[in-house]
Amino acid sequence: MATFTDNTQSDTLPQWLQQQARQQGTGIALRHKRLGVWQVRTWRQLAAEVEHLAMALQVRGFVPGASLVIVSRPRPEALIAVLAAQWLGGVAALLDPLEAAAAQVPLLRELHSEWVFAEGHEEIQRLRAAGLAPRLLIYADGRGMAEVSQAGDTLAFAQLLLGSDHRLEPQARAERTAFTFYRLGAGQRIEQQRISHAELLKEGWRLVHSEQLGRQEEALAARAFAAGSQARYLLAPWLIAGFRLNFPENLATRDQDRRELGPTLVAGTRETYERLHAQVLARLPEPGSWRRRLVDWALVAHPGALQRHLGYWLIRRPLRDILGFSRTRAPLVVGEALAPHTQAFFQALAIEVRTWPDPAQWHRPARWPAPLVNGWIEDSTQPA
């Protein structure tokens, strides 16, 4: 049952954030695990932080249409930076946090963005390796920063939030680009995917209606910044429906955090489900053992009445708990569909994974800067 309010006045992501802050200011928007404890941000706090960061960016010269490159694993500060750039009518340019560092360097080298959010020391070293000297470099994790040569304006995220109390209305427009994603395509050529606010909200609405998502949902943003499909089917629905978005402590703990949290909405990729399936397969009892026969008996495709009930209490329920699917009512795979054997495994656990295809269109950027010539870039205009 959807509990959100339809509001046709909000036609950009920042406007939806404002609306949620007005309608459920004290409701929990974000949770993230830090030092073993879940920390919370309400919608009002989140909107205030986004607005403060937007003002800090504006003061430093960030203009509508400019790109903020995000080089970070999923964390609340990165999401706030995304929304702040969009608040000012800018674009959030995201790189896959799971991509190998070496693969990101050529991408970063060509992006030569003036505005960068980097998670910490490791990401900043990657920027330096790419020869990037942005006008403003924001970092979230200060560890090891004493070693980094701080060219240009390098500031801690927390420092930028110490802004004034002036108000700043969102300057984003529905038809403008909200996100840009990059990848190295065939022949190591850089390809780009651009998604406008209107497109995101259209896809987000479709998911919210179809899956009947409401404020009561809990979602885990384990790979929220990996792909356009995550922006379409997790971030946009989160802002529209106003549910809770949870960030794991780090990527290595995401499966444990999912187990602890028991999200009702899982918007995973094919890799997410395959990884979980592989974890279960690795822990199954030896073939031929009575315990293995019990598992196989409980997980048959079409169980009888006894198998269904006994199998639920003995095998399926504990397995769903271990996987973190104990409360999941909207298990989604965004992008490529699951392999038949993985789909069958989740079906046996009574988890009907639904596929939401990724309508991404990758293309070579039209206004791509000229290639590097002797270490210098001839055209300094920003892409996107």
Binding site: R34, L35, G36, A146, E147, E249, N250, A252, Q256
Partner: protein
């Protein structure tokens, strides 16, 4: 005079003419050296050179028969391991000494024992100072777990962890005591190249980010030369080299006795 004062180094640890023997067998003879506050100092030497014995003298496991130790400006002839811990000296061991049946978090929390102020009765009944103390101790332990990136294994029993991770947990437990001086006895023994690189990174981070002075025993000369500010070389219980890595590397006696590259 002014110049002398300006260049004067503040020493956290000073060993003066330390001598230790076991039933007449001399383990270390007349060893003197000083460790500056904030540096990483390596004790190197062949097996049986007296490195671990010296570490045991520093944290009070062994009592030196000769000489004295000055730590943080205070000189003592004898010091118990408890005194050493109270004064800010923590250590790890060559052979892992963890509680294998306890979780990573609980092992790290044991390192906070001396930081507790509540009495055992307050702790047993969870009253008085004990009530709020648990949360503070847990938070301090979690900070170390976060610092050493062992969150995924927070609730795992230590006995189930691979060797390299157990070494990191032992380091976490020592760090939980918030030491001024950290003694590491072969922290990278038995590790592969990747694990050594990771552990080296953590030791440097501990030194730079937390400001902890480190004395370590290590056989991997590449690691020693890469991360240490100061190297002390022992051979048959005697000191044969003491200085910055580059200087020690050139020392003919060290080359002959330890590095074995005199051709």
């Amino acid at each position: 005079m002014a110049q002398t004062q300006a260049t004067k180094v503040e020493h956290l640890l000073e060993l003066e003419n330390i001598g230790l023997s076991f039933k007449g067998v001399k383990a270390v003879t007349d060893i003197s050296f000083a460790v500056a506050a904030g540096e990483i100092c390596a004790l190197i030497g062949p097996n049986g050179a007296g490195k671990s014995s010296l570490l045991n003298v520093i944290n009070g496991v062994y009592q030196a028969q000769q000489g004295r130790i000055r730590f943080a400006g205070e000189g003592r002839r004898r010091m118990s391991p408890h005194d050493a811990a109270v004064r800010g000296i923590a250590r790890t061991f060559q052979n892992i000494a963890l509680f294998k049946g306890m979780s990573v978090l609980d092992n790290v929390l044991t390192g906070r024992t001396l930081k507790r102020r509540s009495s055992w009765i307050e702790q047993a009944l969870r009253i008085g100072r004990a009530a709020g103390e648990d949360d503070r101790q847990r938070e301090a332990a979690e900070r170390i777990i976060d610092f050493l990136h062992i969150q995924p294994w927070r609730d795992t029993l230590v006995g189930k962890l691979p060797y390299g991770l157990q070494k990191r947990v032992e380091l976490a437990r020592a760090l939980a005591a918030e030491p001024r001086l950290l003694l590491l006895d072969e922290p990278m023994a038995g590790m592969n190249a990747e694990e050594k690189q990771q552990m080296s990174r953590f030791i440097v981070d501990i030194n730079r980010e937390l400001g902890t002075t480190v004395v370590l025993i290590e056989h991997d000369i590449g690691v020693v030369m890469g991360i240490c500010d100061h190297v002390v070389v022992l051979d048959y219980g005697r000191k044969i080299g003491d200085g910055p890595p580059e200087e020690v590397r050139q020392n003919p006696e060290v080359i002959a006795a330890y590095l074995g590259t005199r051709h």
